[in-house]
């Protein structure tokens, strides 16, 4: 994985020092709050409901044990002993003091981490497939591309004050685990007919208030043109993107209003201009630099092993709990005898994505001892051990059990994505976490969860959709309906390469009505499916939304209980910009 050398270190330290000065200048009055806010946001610092919140980047979700331990240290020293892993491969500390932030950023720099551009109207933390470099289905490791983009976008002089935030995701596998079609730019690493490497460039995807599936702007972009092409997209967006309305300021709206053809033409024109000017695009990457970056991502020294391992098979046969965990939480590794193990941060009744300092340290220890010192954070708020010998899995599992980290629920109904919601977030219109906890507790029985099978529930506490509810099989959106928390349900979303935006089922539910509503949907699914192999999503696609809506609103037809709330009823707080 990428490691900071003295250049990276100098850069990050300089940034910390700069931020320290900005905090001092805010306190002295040299910077107004309006001027300070974008600056602090670009250093990851939000002002939330009850406290500041610091969002730290985990670029393309990769970190090592030393970094994880430092996160634990920070959680204990400057926060309240835990951190929250987000849907965009970040970790959030919920209680830092303004005057401590520079010290925290320094502590991050000590282990080659930062919080640069984890917020603000700039290019955000570049995300990638969390199975990168390990997945059996991978064409090419997306992380060198993500790292290249990270460096290119960090403190970019031209693109630090965009109309709105800008998110880039990269995948190197046909099975899209990075939700590339719901990003401002999604890059899929592909090969053309001549077997040359390149990217399919998808632009204008996004969730939020106006969910849209990204569109292919360039079917094949040669690898070497990446930065020039991205620069062209960003320049067109920076100049043409709407700045009159923050809800219409994302690139997806620009693309939608301009039309794909015209937008693509504008990008291609800018791209041609860039290539024509003397010196080429702003950044013609030095090939040695590229090689240097790529070298960091060479595979670990895997042992040559048989695919089957006796220790592993014996443990599987002997221990039902281990068997259940292995069935649910392991994924196929490209190297024989290895597996990708996912640690669920969704223990029943706990806060999705939260980990205590002790848990972080244990995970760090495990990765160091059994996992080639690598960890990944998934957008589904779990932690991945990308390279574990199957032989070591029973030992890993036993260690995880000691810290409440051995929940065998990956991809099941209790593996819920939830944004922080109104328990933390200044933008939220309702709480998310308690809803997630209620659902997980209700469906806690592992046998029942297995019977239900693959089920993606995702909860957002406001229209900004940080909880990805639009792409959930069952999505839940918390709103404020005339001063009461109200939850809308969407059905049939899909976050994978077959990305689909869920359909709103109908009127919302009160907080206590959510669990019974989910139960009705599950009952309907179990009745309607053609056997256990047919997942909820498959049934939904086969028969459509109507039977599920009927289950959700059993009384409808005669009495519509709650007419759909007109949007004017939805109060949205204009707090910290997201």
């Amino acid at each position: 994985m990428y490691r900071y050398d003295e250049f990276d270190d100098a850069l990050v330290r300089d940034r910390v020092q700069r931020f320290r000065g900005q905090v001092e200048r805010r306190i002295s009055g040299a910077l107004t709050e309006d001027e300070f806010k974008p600056l602090r946001l670009q250093n990851g610092l939000y002002l939330q409901l009850h406290a500041y919140m610091l969002r730290v980047a985990i670029p393309y979700g990769t970190l090592n044990s030393r970094q994880m331990r430092q996160l634990a240290m920070i959680a204990e020293r400057w926060d309240r002993g835990y951190g929250h892993f987000t849907t965009r491969q970040n970790i959030q500390f919920n209680w830092p003091k303004l005057t401590d932030t520079a010290a925290i950023l320094d502590a991050l720099a000590d282990v080659g981490m930062h919080a640069i551009q984890t917020s603000g109207n700039c290019i955000r933390n570049v995300t990638a497939d969390h199975f990168a470099g390990a997945a059996a289905d991978e064409i090419e490791d997306p992380r060198p591309t993500a790292e290249l983009l990270r460096q290119w976008s960090t403190d970019h002089p031209e693109f630090a004050f965009l109309p709105r935030k800008f998110k880039i995701a990269v995948t190197g596998s046909p099975n899209d685990r990075a939700v590339t079609k719901a990003h401002d730019i999604g890059l899929r690493m592909i090969r053309n007919e001549a077997e040359e490497p390149g990217y399919e460039v998808i632009v204008g995807g996004g969730l939020g208030r106006t969910p849209m599936v990204g569109k292919v702007v360039r079917a094949f972009l040669p690898k070497s043109d990446l930065l020039a092409y991205v620069e062209a997209i960003l320049r067109v967006y920076n100049l043409e993107g709407r700045r009159d309305n923050k809800y219409k300021a994302r690139i997806k709206i620009l693309l939608h209003e301009t039309g794909l053809e015209q937008f693509s033409a504008a990008v291609e024109r800018e791209f041609d201009d860039l290539k024509a000017v003397q010196g080429g695009p702003s950044v013609a990457v030095d090939p040695q630099e590229l090689a240097r970056i790529e070298a960091y991502f060479s595979a670990p020294a895997f042992e040559v092993l048989d695919e089957a391992d006796e220790t592993f098979e014996t443990a599987l046969a002997a221990d039902g709990t281990f068997r259940a965990w292995s069935k649910q939480n392991l994924a196929e590794h490209r190297q024989p005898g290895y597996a990708i193990a996912t640690i669920s941060l969704k223990a029943i009744g706990e806060v999705p994505g939260d980990a205590t300092a002790d848990q972080m340290r244990l995970i760090a220890d495990i990765s160091e001892q059994f996992g080639h010192d690598e960890l990944r954070i998934s957008h589904e708020q779990n932690i991945v051990l990308p390279h574990v010998r199957k032989r070591d899995l029973p030992a890993v599992f036993a260690l995880l059990q000691t810290a409440g980290l051995a929940t065998a629920n990956l991809g099941l109904i209790s593996d819920i994505i939830a944004c922080p919601g109104m328990d933390y977030c200044a933008l939220a219109t309702a709480r998310s976490i308690p809803i997630a906890q209620d659902i997980a507790r209700h469906f806690a029985d592992p046998t029942y969860a297995q019977t239900i099978g693959e089920m993606k529930i995702k909860i957002s506490g406001c229209i900004n959709a940080c909880g990805h509810h639009h792409v959930a099989h069952i999505g839940i959106l918390g709103l404020d309906r005339r001063g009461v928390e109200n939850y809308q349900i969407t059905l049939g979303g899909d976050h994978t390469e077959t990305l689909a935006i869920g359909e709103r089922a109908g009127p919302g539910f009160g907080a206590e009505e959510v669990v019974p509503a989910i139960q009705r949907l599950i009952d309907a699914y179990l009745t309607l499916r053609n056997g256990p192999k047919e997942t909820f999503l498959m049934v939904y696609r086969r028969i459509g939304a109507e039977p599920f809506k009927k289950a959700l609103y059993p009384d409808s037809g005669s009495t519509a209980p709650n007419p759909p709330a007109p949007s004017s009823d939805v109060i949205s707080f204009s707090g910290t910009a997201g």
Binding site: F7, A30, P157, A160, F161, R235, N238, L239, V277
Partner: protein
């Protein structure tokens, strides 16, 4: 309206001020953020000055507009005007602007120094991607390190004892060698030519970090900055340690007196954790005199650490005696150490004989008057001063104050 240039604040030349918005005359053009650069493409060669308006600093269109104009081949003067803040100055220059025109109100809040310091950073990933990474690193080193023979070390721990005293630890270069009790020159990478000052190393020679104990001198050229060090900061350490407060500069004897005032405690904090000291002497008496009790804390902790140390703890518990006094704040034991020696109070309360050259050795580290007076007392008792080249009965070093 000041004009911010790479040289600092300037007045706008009067012939450049009277251009109405969006107007085009022969040589000057004003553009707002939503202007279309394409429309100007053919006229660029005739223009001397293009001024791009920033309605709000958060509206970054002007940066892309500037970039486009430069890409179209515009070679004339490019000026940003309006709400651009000092934190964006380097961005503006990078995008092709020559200068920035700001309001008087902004200039008051963000004076010239803010703009100058925003530009000071030579590090950017974009420059590195262009292949200039190693030359930037070389530049940085040149800037921060005045000459060869300097280690750049990271601060690992900082502790403040009083408003005027603090200690800190830094990583130790693996090749850095010193004897317990020696001092080294340290500085901070905050100037073209960093200021170095001598600091006694307060940790023993076997420790894998280096500890320093410092006073905060108001407006002192080094401590002014040093007192703000935080974990992770860089401190420069010269490669050669030296000093006379080493066990080798004393001839063998029964007892060792370590006599300190203030931060003169530092070299002794190192020595009392060195096993060699306990091998060489049967008894070690450490005295520390400060004005107030809280200024004695560091020494007290150092003694505690020595007695708890796995390496020397057992010997320190048997052999090390700590004798603190306060000179201003009332307490159980008051007065300067010279007074305690002269009156015999020191020896009476510890049940020890008075100084004698056959059995006693001493090291003195403190303020200049204290060093002078204590030295006189030792010489009066028949002890002679030694040095590295000629070991003797006592050695002396002034505590380092800027």
């Amino acid at each position: 309206m000041p004009l911010v240039t790479t040289e600092g604040f300037r007045l706008i030349p009067s012939n450049e001020t009277s251009v109405s918005a969006e107007s085009i005359n022969d040589r000057f053009v004003n553009l707002s953020g939503d202007a279309q650069a394409e429309a100007l493409r053919d006229k660029l060669a005739d223009l001397d000055l293009i001024r791009i308006e920033f309605g709000s600093f958060a509206d970054g269109r002007g940066f892309s507009l500037a970039k486009r104009l430069r890409n179209y081949g515009y070679k004339g003067h490019l000026r940003a005007s309006g709400h651009v803040i000092s934190d964006q100055f380097r961005y503006a220059l990078d995008c092709g602007f020559d200068d920035v025109e700001i309001s008087d109100e902004l200039a008051r809040r963000q004076p010239e120094a803010d703009w100058v310091s925003d530009r000071a950073t030579p590090v950017s990933y974009i420059e590195r991607l262009r292949g200039r990474g190693s030359s930037i690193v070389a530049q940085l080193k040149e800037k921060y390190v005045s000459q060869d023979g300097v280690f750049e070390q990271q601060v690992t721990h900082v502790k403040h004892y009083t408003d005027g005293l603090f200690s800190f630890r830094v990583t130790r270069p693996s090749s850095f060698r010193f004897r317990s009790g020696e001092f080294v020159m340290i500085g901070m990478p905050n100037a073209e030519k960093p200021i170095f000052r001598a600091y006694s190393i307060a940790s023993p020679s076997w420790d894998d970090e280096l500890e320093f104990y410092s006073i905060k001198v108001p407006d002192g050229p080094l401590t002014e900055h040093l007192q703000h060090v935080a974990v992770g900061d860089t401190v420069l350490v010269r490669k050669k340690a030296t000093g006379t407060l080493v066990a080798d500069a004393l001839t063998p004897a029964k007892r060792l007196y370590l006599l300190a005032t203030g931060t003169g405690m530092a070299p002794f904090a190192s020595l009392i954790r060195d096993p060699y000291v306990y091998e060489k002497f049967e008894q070690v008496v450490l005295t520390h005199s400060c004005r107030d009790h809280n200024e004695l804390t560091y020494g007290r902790e150092a003694v505690g650490r020595a007695k708890a140390d796995p390496l020397v703890g057992e010997a320190a518990q048997r052999k090390l005696i700590f004798y603190p006094t306060t000179t201003r704040e009332t307490g159980p034991r008051m007065g300067r150490i010279t007074l305690h020696i002269e009156t015999g109070e020191l020896f009476r309360s510890l049940d020890l004989p008075r100084f004698d050259a056959a059995n006693d050795r001493a090291m003195i580290c403190g303020s200049l008057p204290m060093v002078h007076d204590t030295k006189a007392l030792l010489e009066a008792a028949g002890l002679t001063e030694g040095s590295n080249s000629r070991p003797g009965d006592f050695v002396v070093e002034r505590a380092f104050v800027e």
